[in-house]
Subunit: 129 residues, 4 copies
Amino acid sequence: MSDFAVTISPRFYETDALGHINNASITAWFEVVRVRYLESLENSDFSAAKDWILASIQVDFVAETFYGNDVVAKITAANVGNSSLTIFCEMFQQGKLTVKGKAVLVYMDSAEKTSTRIPDKLREQIAAL
Amino acid sequence: MSDFAVTISPRFYETDALGHINNASITAWFEVVRVRYLESLENSDFSAAKDWILASIQVDFVAETFYGNDVVAKITAANVGNSSLTIFCEMFQQGKLTVKGKAVLVYMDSAEKTSTRIPDKLREQIAAL
Amino acid sequence: MSDFAVTISPRFYETDALGHINNASITAWFEVVRVRYLESLENSDFSAAKDWILASIQVDFVAETFYGNDVVAKITAANVGNSSLTIFCEMFQQGKLTVKGKAVLVYMDSAEKTSTRIPDKLREQIAAL
Amino acid sequence: MSDFAVTISPRFYETDALGHINNASITAWFEVVRVRYLESLENSDFSAAKDWILASIQVDFVAETFYGNDVVAKITAANVGNSSLTIFCEMFQQGKLTVKGKAVLVYMDSAEKTSTRIPDKLREQIAAL
């Protein structure tokens, strides 16, 4: 896939007393890029945020992130299971890898409130990106 | 009124690179004490968060707040208008005044989605506290 | 002055259970535009965030802000006192005024840790913007 | 080990438009309990937050967390390596398991800014808790 990328400008309130961006803010950024990616798949048949439940996240803090330079957050891979979608993310600041993330989402039948098979059309969109 | 108070333990991620608690976190704490206060008025006839719209806030940062010691956030006064409620808050850390806040809320008729007169029962509860 | 503006894309985690952007997130956005504005004044003689202390903020929530459309946050005026700077901000979503903010900052002598007169060079920059 | 536990009252601004507590807030809570745990080990020879670097976190969102009831966040295990410490956390709301977390921290020599062997005294404290 070609990378899906979002540029994030660190905010001063996202720093902490150690002088860098706090890990909780970085994990929140992972939601930003993840939701944008899901929205990019969206069409009239499905709306992103309500169709997916976040099952788990893993974040590796490879290097510190600092205030003052933009961060590029990329979706580097998206693996489709039956009802699950695993999204891989990498973040870079000044060209340096700072964060590696992995999220597992489950596709929901909003009427039944149960997990359900990811529709073919959506599978194609994920594969195409 | 006797003060209504909530104790808040500053969280590390609420600090910023200046080494103190960031002002955005403190403003968020003001929501915590305000909502708890409104919930304390709540009974079967009204549910707090949905009945009030926040019209404005003012926060004076009297002194820095630091990580490592609890903050006591007090509602010091609540003035009832026709459909509006003005809530005054003070925060203290180690006995020192750090923050003074003022919020204006408007009571809503949730069915009509318009502001409406604060019910008498609720006025009594506010006066009694 | 010509307006200084920052575009903010609301993030999903900045919504709350009432379905709109939470007031604490909006107040945090006010910091984003304020700090960017101060940084735009910055030169080799002074670094923005450490030279200013936030004395107070006032935020009027004129209309709800929603997820899904960008917000334009503008600095509409900046009034210089002796050691204080009052910054006025307005936020718009889809052309509609949603937020009016006002912040009072105090210029600090970082060595002495006391408030000090805003330097002439900085006054000129503020006036010019 | 006997569990180390922190009680967290969900805050209204920690909810999102899906009506539950947002995953970014829950990940931030994990920092709260983790830092408190590290501080409980602290003595005059070491100060918690500055001696540890967060290398990675994993969070499984087992069930939704809601506003309105306290969450109990427990450290259920802590495994010491040479310079690394793996902390396991579980969160419960109304007795129901909602979150399972795992964090890997690395002990730092703050002067040298490199990872270093966790001191014996600290190992004993971790084992004893």
